[in-house]
Symmetry: C2
Subunit: 302 residues, 2 copies
Amino acid sequence: MSDILVVGSLAYDSIETPSGRVARALGGSANYFSLAASLYAKVRVVGVVGEDYEEADYKLLKDRGVDLEGLEKVPGKTFHWEGKYEGDMNEAKTLRTELNVFEHFNPKLPESYKNSSFVFLANIVPALQMEVLNQVKNPQFVGMDTMNLWIDIANADLLKVLKKVDVILINETEAEMLTGAANAIEAAAKIVELGPKAVVIKRGEYGFIMYSKEEGYFVLPAFPIAKVTDPTGAGDTFAGGFFGYLASRPSKPTVKDMKQACIYGSIMASHTIQDFSVKALAKTTIADIEKRMAEYKKVITI
Amino acid sequence: MSDILVVGSLAYDSIETPSGRVARALGGSANYFSLAASLYAKVRVVGVVGEDYEEADYKLLKDRGVDLEGLEKVPGKTFHWEGKYEGDMNEAKTLRTELNVFEHFNPKLPESYKNSSFVFLANIVPALQMEVLNQVKNPQFVGMDTMNLWIDIANADLLKVLKKVDVILINETEAEMLTGAANAIEAAAKIVELGPKAVVIKRGEYGFIMYSKEEGYFVLPAFPIAKVTDPTGAGDTFAGGFFGYLASRPSKPTVKDMKQACIYGSIMASHTIQDFSVKALAKTTIADIEKRMAEYKKVITI
């Protein structure tokens, strides 16, 4: 089992969906990622929170054995995101983003983190993703996420990071935006031309596309969920399940491993969306994952 | 091998997509359906065309062994649809619909059609779907399609037909509209409560969901196509492939057969969208289907 370093946000989210609303509930890419990945591997978090960050929210990760040495607490308030889903549950409408302590975030890796084998650069400004990656001595497998904002305002930096990673996990609309492709199938093939060995395009309720230089397309639907309560964090959960599975394997990830990892990510994400914030994910056990995996195999097999 | 009766439109379509445009090209649900289904089974068409319907367009079906005894030619012009795709290739914007000879269409079945085992009621006004179905003596397996317009203005009639069919093949947005469900997964489960044994929800580039009372969900992605030239007719092609496969089987369709049939429908539809009008579909051979089927299995398997 290898260690996974993740850099990303720890946040409080205020979310409205057709199922209801929550105010200042735990969120952030690093939280979703860590909760998912820690079921299968040792996770190390790099991030920043404010003075309002609650003890119970630290404890949630600590109880999963997550290493929080790289999680700084600084004066000010924790990153706060306010969003709403209506109609299209695949895309949130951002109502407000308060960067707070995240605004001057300058990630410094603890010595003990620098030997991490797996690195996941969750969605933060590309220059910081690069700074974190540069501090890791000899990473074996690196992944990244990104978002429309960075594609727009930090494109050159983003393309530099893209050349350094093994895989990018990205949303469908963002994949099209990054490449100018008319659809996700075309986008996938174009993205591997930009550097990574493989790309995973997350399609929300429709599942995912993985495309690798080595083996081409691998496409599967999402596990069918009739009632989506809150899609927030599904993508970060996917990444966490994906990395958790890979880091639990005895050897360096092959394309075949990555395909299996997509299924783990997808199944974990199907749990996340069944309740607000990290509530459903935090309760999800390995037994739950294995059970749903078996159901999923029936759903996709004649 | 059994006979399939299809009732639907034979049309000329004027279509604009990001790949170009065609004017008065062959279209209509019965044409797409018949071209697909006739690769595997004997098809009988019920429909109406105007005096402008071209000899070459009859010939296209005749050369495939399609029975056109039930295809009337009447004074006036053939049904004409004008549509445009931009951005979202899963949904056409209708610019103009000229019903022409279709307006007073009153389907009468030739005697020789009345013993058909398989019946597909393509997207026409529900009252006519019922009228056609009532003329078939002892159908073994009946399917239907429908559209937003009938859900809206002929809902009661539509629900009556739905009680008489084994399967409905329907678009994602229309499935949600029909049931008031928030997503296609929820819609699928609600639709079988309305009568049919199974429902197939067509999700365009995302593939399909089949849901049966007997075995629950069967969900798969579409075959990956990087360049979609014209999505028109993909749904009718799907239905044609689905019915063609089922009618080619030695016994009455099981749920397992229907799952396999979905894959045939999906693979055929992936050909249709690669050129305008029926151009790609008309050239597609059984060998092409089998080849792509093998590629598809690789795409969805680790």
